[in-house]
């Protein structure tokens, strides 16, 4: 019985070690797969209201909603909404640095 209990403990201990490792790898792999390339054919398939924003973030590479709004002529709040839609669609990513939120196509 004691041998069996020690074997169970060993199995549980090994699982504890591997589980976090597996989830990190999965997360990493998921991140790599999830970012959809924002190529021109994808741009063409986007809804009209998002296309201009998507082209601009491609041009700027990394920018805040205010930077993009300055180029497109939209209001900052509108641009922020559009950029967040593109994030939700997994075409771009978002990163907070202090008070600013940056959007980018590739890091």
């Amino acid at each position: 019985m004691e041998t069996l209990a020690s074997k169970v403990d060993l199995i549980l201990a090994s699982q504890k070690k591997t589980v976090p490792l597996r989830s990190t790898e999965e997360k990493k792999a998921k991140n790599e797969i999830s970012l959809e390339a924002l190529d021109v054919m994808t741009l063409l398939s986007l809804p009209d209201h998002l296309r201009k924003t998507a082209v601009m973030i491609t041009k700027l590479g990394r920018a805040t909603a205010a930077d993009v709004a300055r180029e497109t002529g939209h209001a900052r709040a509108v641009e922020s909404n559009y950029l967040n839609q593109l994030v939700a669609m997994k075409h771009i990513q978002r990163e907070r640095k202090g008070k600013k939120v940056y959007f980018y196509v590739t890091k």
Binding site: A37, L38, D39, V40, M41, T42, L43, L44, D48, R51, K52, V55, T58, K59, G61, V105, T106
Partner: protein
């Protein structure tokens, strides 16, 4: 601020490359600083027109293997132009063409970013015009060029297939990206075979222009009759340099005038 102009068409054989080279030549002769880039990676032609074999191609620039300055050839002295005249070529080797046709979506996205970055040339090299000679139809290289440009010139003939393809590109491509676009009608058939006997009169041009504008719904930037001697001329001849008085050169000059006002 400079301008990026894409010369595009719905299918091959409309005369894009001939028009691109001569448009760039006319602009340079007028004192503009011009950069002509061959983005037709599937069927490059400019290496034949300019008889160059460079160390770096535009393929290398898009692959991030070099900078645009390494690709550009300065031909200002060769043609004695008033403005600067640069050309950048596409790799015509079978390996180069094959490699470009096998690129994935992620690479194409980065290629678009590289093309968009060319705007720095306006400041850094005081370039006034960048002319993209593209591949026909809706392919990655040509759509990347359209998205990166300020104005799109769509070269078409009166052939029914060309007309249909052009209309679909206007609706599905140029309008989707909100691009300024205009038609350049090429190889307009004249009633007689000798153009000097029957040039397109101003009346002919106006009436044809009105019909075309109704047909396509976008401005008509110009029209060029089908000159038999131009068709017979070697591809290495740039009429705007070698025969400035030829009616073809005059038609290109008219078109350039419209382009400058656009």
């Amino acid at each position: 601020m400079g301008k990026i102009v894409t010369i595009h068409s719905s299918r091959g054989g409309t005369g894009k490359s001939l028009i691109s080279a001569n448009t760039a030549a006319v602009l340079a002769n007028k004192g503009k600083n011009v950069c002509l880039l061959d983005l037709d990676f599937r069927a490059p032609t400019m290496h034949v027109v300019f008889k160059l074999s460079p160390e770096y191609w535009l393929n290398n620039f898009l692959n991030r293997e070099c900078e645009i300055e390494n690709v550009l050839y300065d031909l200002t002295q060769r043609y004695n132009t008033k403005g600067k005249f640069f050309v950048g070529l596409a790799d015509p080797s079978m390996l180069g063409i094959r490699e470009m046709s096998m690129k994935d979506r992620k690479w194409e996205m980065k290629a678009l970013q590289r093309l968009l970055s060319l705007r720095k040339l306006f400041e850094e090299k005081k370039i006034d015009y960048i002319i993209f000679d593209t591949s026909p139809g809706v392919q990655y290289a040509s759509v990347n060029a359209v998205v990166s440009s300020d104005t799109v010139v769509v070269v078409t003939t009166m052939d029914a297939i060309d007309v249909q393809g052009t209309r679909s590109m206007i609706e599905d491509l140029y309008e989707s990206f909100g691009k300024k676009a205009g038609i350049l009608l090429n190889k307009v058939l004249l009633p007689y075979s000798v153009p000097s006997l029957s040039p397109l009169t101003e009346g002919d041009r106006e009436s044809l222009s009105k019909q075309l504008k109704e047909m396509f719904g976008i401005p008509i930037f110009g029209m060029i009759p089908c000159y038999c001697d131009v068709l017979r001329t070697s591809r290495t001849v740039i009429l705007a340099f070698q025969n400035p008085e030829h009616p073809f050169t005059k038609d290109i000059e008219k078109f350039v005038g419209v382009l400058e006002e656009t």
